[in-house]
């Protein structure tokens, strides 16, 4: 037997290569400088190959964004050689093919088992008119894109795979040994993302490459692009080969269910090359002529179906507008990553590939489930509770990995509003609002001020006003006094550390309207017994400031509170305050989208 690289083997090697490349690119989409980090790797390369992304954004934005030029060679390749991408490149196609093979692997030697398996496989790979469904889906998606709503990424296998890897597979696997992330990642609605991915994979049990055959809009686009391929699969029937014996082994192994033994449905040929390998008489060829069995294009799609799909797609975008979610009805918590375009333009570009969510070092960028409405399913939204911090001031990673510039690739200068962007000011994501019913100093007479401490803006956008307020159950009677030491009775056991430096004593009833600190003596040390309480003050009480030390005089304990205020003109909405707020549930300070840079005129402040 001659040793030559069988075309099917070559195809398998290519598929394995692109699956591994995809996994590698997913793994290196992690901030860092070492070679296995985001250090110049073309992390979007696979995504940029999709002509569907290029065409969808082209229809939605009337531009061809330069990084998507990689789709051009794919278009040329498909036009001349057919759906080579599906057979040799597409990583989701490869996974589908592998799982379809696994599901049909014959593991028993029982007599007849192999024959039965082959018959079942032949039935599974029979061409079906339902393969037209993906063309309807494609037309629907492109019609919606024409009206500014880009939904291709939900079904395009490349964003679908990246989204699934980024937000379900990678974090689940990495949670064990934490090679990618310092701590386990969180992704909202990961369950749903995985359900979709698992369904796509699981459907291979029903039919091999079910997704590719019936659903894949990218495959459908290739099915249009390969309309005139000069070279294509086909069988020959000539005297040299004799008549086709009708063994249907070609059909049995056909991944695309394109009926190679009969009238070949050329748009459906995935270029898996299995027929070439399966034909016992080497009758199948890849050549510049039509198959001897006849040839047709497209699996009998109906004109009515196309019109219906186009109308539905064209209507969906205006219908979503009616919901008002991109406009006046926008969810207050819909905070987009820094550099995100205004909502309408954002939705004309976002693929929901999850690259921004994958690369975000603090995991604050999350896939939206309901925040952006159905139209914005799995688009990026910031959630400062789930993340490990807020949006990092010195980070511009998300915009720089976004394959379509739905999040613009910002420079640090532009994000921070410095250099030539000084006049524009920093990019704002929203505004922090103090919830005075939940904030510790405002509502619970407890010092705190974590938000102000960690506000990264200079000057800080969170500032404070100091007050001294009598604490609950804070009154007691003087028993005796000696210098800075004061003995009291009647003070219930305090629930806070009165010697912490935040607390002071003052004669009760002293109205200190003009100077809130008049007469105050800070408590430096404190001892509590049921029988009596001893205070050491920072200075001797001064009768001139209203102190009466005769036994029985009443004094009260005050707490010094620094109450936080937000200077909205300086707040950039980074959410570090919200993330760090110790009120773990509904935070005492929360960011909503008001005053965000991307929304243009009508921001909260003038």
């Amino acid at each position: 037997m001659r040793f030559v690289l069988n075309i099917v083997t070559a195809r398998r090697i290519s598929q394995v290569f692109f699956v591994l490349l995809t996994l590698w690119l997913c793994a290196v989409t992690t901030l860092g400088a070492s070679f296995w980090r985001l250090s110049g790797w073309p992390v979007n390369f696979i995504l940029q190959l999709s002509p569907l992304t290029a065409l969808g954004t082209l229809l939605a934005t009337q531009t061809w964004y330069a990084p998507l030029l990689w789709a051009v060679p794919v278009v040329i390749l498909t036009a001349f050689l057919g759906r080579v991408f599906c057979g040799f490149v597409c990583p989701l196609g490869a996974l589908n093919q592998a799982f379809g093979w696994l599901a049909r692997r014959v593991t028993t030697n029982f007599p007849g088992a192999r024959g039965a398996a082959l018959r079942a496989r032949l039935a599974d790979n029979r061409h079906s008119p339902w393969q037209a469904a993906k063309y309807y889906l494609l037309v629907f998606l492109l019609a919606a894109a024409c009206f500014g709503s880009l939904q291709t990424g939900l079904f395009d296998p490349l964003p679908l795979l990246f989204r699934s890897l980024n937000m379900t597979i990678a974090p689940v696997i990495d949670a064990g040994f934490q090679a990618l992330f310092l701590k386990p990642r969180h992704y909202a609605s990961a369950w749903l993302l995985f359900t979709v991915f698992a369904t796509v994979i699981g459907l291979n049990m029903l039919r091999p490459r079910f997704f590719c055959r019936y659903l894949c809009p990218l495959g459908a686009l290739f099915g249009f692009l390969n309309r005139f391929t000069p070279w294509r699969m086909g069988k020959i029937d000539d005297s040299a080969h004799g008549e086709c014996g009708n063994c249907t082994l070609c059909d049995t192994y056909c991944e695309g269910a394109c009926r190679p033994s009969g009238v070949l449905v050329a748009s459906e040929c995935l270029m898996c090359m299995n027929c070439l390998d399966a034909c016992p008489q080497a009758r199948m060829t890849f050549a510049g002529r039509a198959s001897a069995g006849g040839e047709e294009h497209l699996p009998e799609p109906s004109r009515r179906g196309f019109l219906f799909a186009a109308a539905a797609g064209a209507l969906s975008a205006p219908l979503w507008t009616i919901g008002g979610l991109a406009d006046t009805g926008k969810n207050p918590l819909l905070i987009r990553p820094p550099g995100a375009l205004d909502e309408a333009r954002f939705l004309s570009r976002c693929l929901r590939c999850g690259q921004c969510m994958r690369v975000c070092p603090t995991n604050v960028i999350q896939p939206a489930l309901t925040e952006a409405g159905l139209e914005g399913l799995w688009t990026p939204v910031l959630n400062f509770r789930l993340g490990s911090s807020g949006c990092q001031v010195q980070c511009v990673a998300c915009g720089n990995v976004c394959p379509t510039a739905a999040i613009r690739p910002l420079t640090l200068d532009e994000k921070l509003g410095q250099g030539k962007f000084a006049a524009k000011g920093p990019v704002r994501l929203g505004t922090a609002f103090v919830d005075r019913t939940r904030c510790l100093p405002w509502a619970m007479e407890r010092p705190c001020l974590v938000c102000q401490e960690l506000c990264p803006v200079s000057p800080k956008s969170i500032h404070t006003r100091t007050t001294f307020e009598p604490i609950r159950f804070g009154q007691a009677e003087v028993v005796g006094a000696e210098g800075r030491r004061l003995s009291l009775s009647g003070l219930p056991k305090p629930t806070v550390n009165l010697g912490s430096g935040d607390y002071s004593l003052r004669p009760s009833g002293l109205l200190a309207m003009n100077s809130p600190e008049a007469g105050l003596r800070r408590i430096n040390a404190f001892a509590w017994l049921e029988s009596g309480q001893t205070f050491t003050l920072d200075a001797e009480p001064d009768p001139k400031q209203g102190w009466r030390l005769a036994p029985g005089s009443v004094v009260e304990v005050l707490v010094r509170l620094q109450k936080p205020y937000v200077d909205a003109a300086r707040c950039i909405g980074c959410g570090v305050c919200e993330h760090e707020c110790p009120i773990a549930g509904l935070r005492g300070i929360r960011v909503s989208f008001e005053n965000e840079s991307r929304s243009g005129p009508g921001r909260m402040l003038v």
Partner: protein, 365 residues
């Protein structure tokens, strides 16, 4: 799943060659077919390359897609008066008459100024800016009185105006506002057209800076530019009202109704925005209706007890002077509405209305 037709496509027997074709012909057909397909494939590939080349975007989307804005809504002041003191007439009706006749007062004031023909020429297309902010009865004085609307519209048509339209972008539901204030009915009777603030009439405008005013607040801001299509003259018809935030709502505050969008953000700088409104558009004529003045609970009012009969109507070419006079009616100092001085500084008019040497006309005398 496969129907009878697809069944027919199964199986491997090739279709018979048409009798009479030789193998050579078949080869020729194949060659021709190949070339045709190669041409088709090239067309697809070239379409891809061509689209990419034609629509290539190397720089990525801009931060904002705000288009180029128009500069303001236009200057409708009389050319011969620009740079000169404005003209003004103030009419007081007979205080003994319970329901003063606004038309008579208006005509008297206009006569003193040389008649409406001095301002409206035959063929002019006139826009009236009414205050229709609230869907309330005209008796409550929160909106421009329909009698005044009808009188002005009819006089304009009489002076030869080709058309008279009126508009406002009110707070309450527009249709209700125009209907309940009686303005729609007055317009219908007098031959004026009501322009409702349709969303597609709004376009972004900017106010160019003049001194310290302008260039700051109304920047690429949606304004009712569509209502000005073909308009050659603008007349503002404004009631005199208390306004807690602004000090008073009269002529210049009435221009807030030209703005769209989330215009309430401007209340953070109410004097700044009203001063910019004075630069946004320059009216031909301003009618300030002080027949009943809203002294309290403005600008909505809602009760007759908020109103006081003052029996006064002022007509002037200077919106700033109009408002300065309005403050006098309210019994307030001009400085209590700081936008008046700001508008004067910006060059929109004169805050000392007396320097216009107004005609004081008393119908009761």
């Amino acid at each position: 799943m496969s129907g009878p037709e697809t069944e027919g496509k199964e199986g491997g027997t090739p279709p018979e060659m048409t009798s009479g074709t030789t193998p050579g012909d078949a080869q020729e057909l194949t060659r021709r077919d190949f070339l045709k397909r190669a041409a088709g494939a090239s067309a697809i590939a070239l379409t891809g390359v061509g689209l990419a080349a034609a629509l290539l975007d190397k720089s990525g989307p801009p931060a904002s897609d705000a288009g180029t804005s128009a500069k303001g809504l236009g200057d409708y002041s009389l050319a011969e008066l620009r740079g000169k003191p404005g003209r003004m007439a103030i009419v007081r009706s007979d205080p003994k008459i319970a329901q003063p006749d606004r038309r008579a007062m208006l005509e008297r004031a206009l006569t003193a100024l040389g008649g409406l023909g001095a301002f409206i020429k035959p063929g002019d297309r006139v826009l009236l800016k009414v205050n229709a902010a609230f869907a309330t009865s005209s008796a409550l004085g929160a909106t421009t009185h329909p009698d005044l609307v009808a009188a002005v519209a009819e006089l304009c048509l009489k002076a030869g105006a080709a058309s008279v339209a009126l508009t406002d972008n009110p707070i309450h539901s527009p249709e209700s506002c125009f209907a309940l204030t009686g303005i729609a009915e007055a317009a219908a009777k007098s031959g004026a057209r009501v322009i409702l603030p349709n969303e597609n009439l709004f376009a972004p405008v900017s106010v160019p800076p003049s001194g310290n005013i302008g260039g700051r607040l109304i920047r690429d801001w949606p304004a009712l530019a569509g209502a000005f299509k073909g308009v050659t003259k603008l007349i503002a018809l404004s009631p005199v009202k208390d306004h807690h935030r602004a000090g008073a709502s009269m002529t210049l505050k009435n221009f807030y109704g030209f703005l769209g969008g989330r215009r309430n953000v401007f209340h953070q700088d109410i004097n700044g925005i009203i001063a910019e409104l004075a630069l946004l558009v320059r009216p031909t004529l301003c009618v300030l209706d002080g027949v009943t003045v809203m002294l309290t609970n403005g600008p909505t009012g809602g009760s007759l007890s908020d109103l006081k009969a003052m029996h006064v109507l002022a007509v002037t070419t200077d919106p700033v002077a109009a408002d300065a006079f309005g403050m006098e009616l309210l019994g307030r100092a001009v400085t209590e509405a700081p936008y008046i001085k700001l508008a004067e500084t910006a060059g929109a008019g004169n805050a000392d209305y007396k320097s216009l040497s107004p005609h004081f006309l008393d119908l009761g005398a």
